[in-house]
């Protein structure tokens, strides 16, 4: 079987810094990671491959530095990695992104065989739209199952896949014809730690890089900013919390708990009154 997994390189939201003066996101020095949702997609794809044989091709669109994420995917155990990178793709919204990725998947089909399954994460943590996966499915005419928790069955002969889908109020078990796009939910599996051989292969591998033309894009007006009808009206940072952590000094001969409680009561006089009231009851 052949599975294509779409991933995205995103800033590590745990380490993101908002510039204290300009309130813009400081990208310099902020580490990038594979979009966490995509890791569940990658692991689910590799489990299927390990069970039924075949290959996992990882695809991403991004700047040349997105190569790091693909290399990491190879280190986890993916078979090959394709980077879609071109200045024509810059500024893509979800419509333009799904167009570029769908085009590239066609090219992947022509080159290494048509995929039986295409995996994506449910959404990315930097855009949070959850639109790109369904967009790809629509453009390629694939079946699609979103909010997937687990692939329970895969039947190559019948050409079907059975998936547990998390829905409001319970779990749906859905069976779909192949080829199918699966958008995976978080927390559904755990990404494996690649072996030393995988790690060496990942560090050494040549990442396949396609520009728009090489990926088979004919209509450049559907790419990047040109192909993106979405308009960003305003970007703003939420106002930071005024309360700051305070360093508490322990007075001479005092104790830490006493100092701490005193500090809490100073800030929340109502709490002290309530607790005193309560204590009186005992």
């Amino acid at each position: 079987m052949h599975i294509v997994v779409c991933i995205k390189q995103v800033p590590d939201s745990a380490q993101i810094r908002v510039h204290p003066v300009t309130n813009t996101i400081m990208r310099q020095g902020v580490p990038t990671i594979i979009n966490p949702y995509d890791l569940f997609a990658l692991e689910e794809a590799m489990r299927l491959r390990d069970k039924f044989g075949g290959e996992v091709t990882v695809l991403t669109m991004g700047p040349p530095s997105a190569e790091d994420s693909l290399r990491k995917a190879l280190t986890f155990g993916a078979n090959r990695a394709v980077l879609l990178t071109d200045r024509f793709f810059a500024g893509s919204d979800t419509l333009a992104t799904s167009f570029a990725l769908a085009t590239a998947i066609k090219k992947i089909s022509d080159t290494w065989g048509a995929p039986d399954l295409v995996f994506t994460g449910k959404q990315t943590i930097d855009g949070d739209t959850a639109q790109v996966g369904p967009g790809i499915a629509k453009r390629l005419g694939l079946m699609q199952i979103t909010y997937a928790a687990k692939v329970t069955e895969y039947d190559a002969a019948e050409g079907s896949v059975t998936i547990e889908r998390r829905a409001e109020g319970g779990t749906q078990v859905l069976k779909s014809k192949l080829p199918c796009l699966v958008a995976m939910l978080e927390g559904t599996n755990e990404i494996r730690r690649g072996t030393m051989a995988d790690a060496l292969r990942g560090a050494r591998a040549e990442i396949i890089k396609w520009n728009a033309k090489e990926a088979g894009v004919e209509d450049l007006s559907k790419c990047g900013l040109k192909g993106s009808p979405t308009i960003v009206k305003r970007v703003f940072a939420p106002s930071p919390r005024a309360e700051k952590a305070k360093f508490i000094e322990i007075p001479e001969g005092g104790s830490l708990p006493d100092a701490l409680i005193a500090e809490i009561f100073t800030r929340q006089p109502a709490l002290e009154a309530d607790l005193t009231e309560l204590a009186r009851g005992f």
Partner: protein, 435 residues
């Protein structure tokens, strides 16, 4: 087991490891570098000041694309009293040169850059992989490493241990002893963000210029230690460190020292209104020449912090790390090109080359200093700074006391705190250790 053998495996991707891996790969050796962090720099902590000369010897045109913060034009030494400091400042326009001599850097960014150069040079860099054990043959020769990944045994002719200050691998393999608490300092550091122009105004600098402050005295509460304040482009690195053995004795904890250092009236205005974005702690080898472990053996060499190569007196560490990494690589290359085996006898060339360099010469010069400062820490880090600060105040305060009387009072404050013999003894010992 991996069916592949490397010429060299470098354990660690800090300054020493990157310098070694880069030099080896440039010389055409087949190099594997293993780093436990997510990327080179993700776990590396330093003040940090970069000394250009030592990096130039490895990457001559590093200024073209390395992420540098500010080049230093001013150095301040502060002897701290409780509410004052006596300072020695050196500032020179000469440091505004075409190729500046010292820069502040942020290691997470700098090391990432250095690592990209290592890759470009042709080394295979694998991160998120911890080397758990050195593989030794029946005769004790190191022939490879085991990692925390499945099927993780990999072989090489020589292993370069650039694993950092704690030296766990070398210790585990019985090649060395774990560093003593008297030989390592624990330093804590914060990054204080401020607008660029505020930093420039407060430190009297402009453009890419930078200033640094090294501070010692009552801030370490009688422990052997120092504080530092370095200017980066948009933030100030501020930290303090003391010997682990002094922390062990009790008293102050590292974070309270840091909090008090930040509140010192000489320091507080410099960081006022800043936002702390990062907090880090790190061990620093401070044992000097006498703490250096065995540097080479059958199939291995040790470089950088792991070899305790750090000049605490001059606050130089990363340049010794880079230089030892480069020299180890050059020695390995020489042995390799003679087609000789990587035995202890052949790898002793590394130590010889290191002894001919400034690294060992500088450390040897100060070989008695760590012991002296440690034993006399109460005097050097508490009593004397207090006396000097008091004397200085006495000198500048105009209060109608006749000058001669003031002089007498000052002398008396010294002799009552420490006998004449003690004072002369300390001065003599200090001079001898410095010589």
């Amino acid at each position: 087991m991996i069916d592949e053998k490397f010429d060299a495996i470098v354990v660690g991707a800090g300054m020493a490891g990157n310098a070694a891996a880069y030099t080896l790969a440039k010389r055409g050796l087949k190099v594997l570098q293993l780093e436990r962090g997510e990327y080179s720099g993700s776990k590396n902590v330093q003040g940090a000041i970069l000394y250009a000369d030592m990096l130039e010897k490895i990457i001559p045109d590093f200024r073209e694309d390395a992420p540098l913060e500010r080049h230093l034009i001013e150095q301040r030494f502060w002897m701290m009293g409780d509410t004052s400091h006596v300072g020695l400042h050196y500032r020179s326009e000469d440091f505004n040169e075409e190729k500046p001599n010292r820069y502040t850097i942020i290691r997470a960014q700098f090391d990432k850059w250095f690592s990209s150069k290592v890759r470009e040079a042709g080394a295979l860099v694998v991160c998120e992989t911890t080397v758990t054990e050195l593989v030794q043959d029946a005769y004790g020769k190191v022939i490879g490493v085991k990692t925390d990944r499945g099927g993780g045994q990999i072989h090489a002719d020589v292993v370069v241990l650039a694993e950092g200050v704690s030296g766990l691998l070398g210790t585990r393999a019985g090649l060395r002893k774990i560093p003593k608490p008297t030989d390592v300092a624990l330093a804590v550091k914060e990054m204080h963000f401020l607008p660029q122009e505020v930093i420039e105004e407060r430190f009297n600098i402009k453009g890419d210029e930078g200033a640094v402050i090294e501070a010692a005295g009552t801030i370490s509460k009688g422990m052997t230690g120092m504080g530092f304040i370095y200017t980066n482009r948009e933030c100030i690195s501020l930290g303090i460190g003391c010997l682990v053995s002094d922390f062990q004795k009790g008293g102050e904890s590292p974070y309270t020292l840091l909090e008090k250092f930040k509140k010192h009236p000489s320091v507080a205005p410099l960081i006022e209104g800043s936002e702390v974005k990062e907090y880090a702690a790190h061990l620093i080898p401070e044992g000097g020449y006498k703490a250096i472990p065995q540097l080479f053996g059958d199939g291995w060499v040790v470089v950088g912090d792991a070899a305790q190569l750090n000049n605490a007196i001059h606050r130089e560490g990363s340049n010794l790390a880079m230089t030892s990494g480069r020299i180890a690589a050059e020695a390995i290359f020489q042995v390799k090109s003679r087609k000789d085996p990587m035995t202890a006898a052949n790898l002793s060339l590394y130590k010889k080359m290191l002894e001919d360099s400034f690294v060992m010469k500088d450390l040897k010069k100060y070989k008695d200093m760590p012991q002296l400062l440690h034993v006399q820490s109460q005097n050097f880090f508490l009593t004397y700074p207090q006396l000097v600060n008091k004397a200085m105040q006495n000198f500048v305060r105009v209060d109608g006391t006749p000058k001669k009387e003031k002089q007498k009072l000052t002398m008396k404050s010294f002799t009552s705190a420490r006998s004449w013999a003690g004072l002369f003894g300390d001065a003599f010992k200090l001079a001898r250790a410095w010589r």
